[in-house]
């Protein structure tokens, strides 16, 4: 699954978050670095209390 660790891959999980893997940074609205990890889950439902990251809120209607 992790065939080329440096090529960034964004997977939109069905009814779930964006899974981002690879060589990337995430910056917030003020330009501050939020993550330098090689794998994050980003909210795409608008409901997470931990935006921009997913907290599983999409499962709760």
């Amino acid at each position: 699954m992790n065939n080329s660790p440096d090529k960034t891959k964004v997977t939109a999980i069905k009814d779930g978050p964006l899974m981002v893997e690879g060589n990337f940074t995430v910056k917030g609205v003020e330009g501050q670095v939020l993550s330098t990890m090689d794998k994050v889950f980003l909210c795409r439902c608008g409901k997470s209390a931990n935006k921009p990251f997913c907290d599983g809120s999409h499962r709760n209607k």
Binding site: T8, K9, V10, A12, V20, G22, G46
Partner: protein, 151 residues
Amino acid sequence: MEKNDRSYTNGEITVHWKPKECVHAGTCFRELRKVFDPSRRPWIDLSQASTEQIIDIVERCPTDALTYERNTAGADAESTPSSKPPQAEKVHFSIMRNGPILAEGHFTVIKPNGTEQEIKSITSFCRCGMSHNQPFCDGSHNKKGFFPDNY
């Protein structure tokens, strides 16, 4: 030139608008609403700010949706529209205030139905859940309201 492309001038500069290039980063209307007002028609009114203010915003548009050229008298050959620098190798994700995730770089997107799409320079991902072009932003957050970053 695409059918919906538009050009606006204030005499000193001409601003070109290419809606197909827009990824809804929102910098233009957030930073200089009196010139770039999506609720107005036409939405660009260059008389509302100074040329320097307008150039500053156009240069901060992350795509070629907004470009400008200086109107030099009778020197058409010199007036090539500005263009944005090429993107770096590392992929950069930027959270846009009350808007999408801007993604700059070369990467692969796997959609919920399993199909893959190669992104070579820039795109934006929906963060509000309301886009009709998932997982990409289509600007729906502007119409329906999405304000998670007002504090």
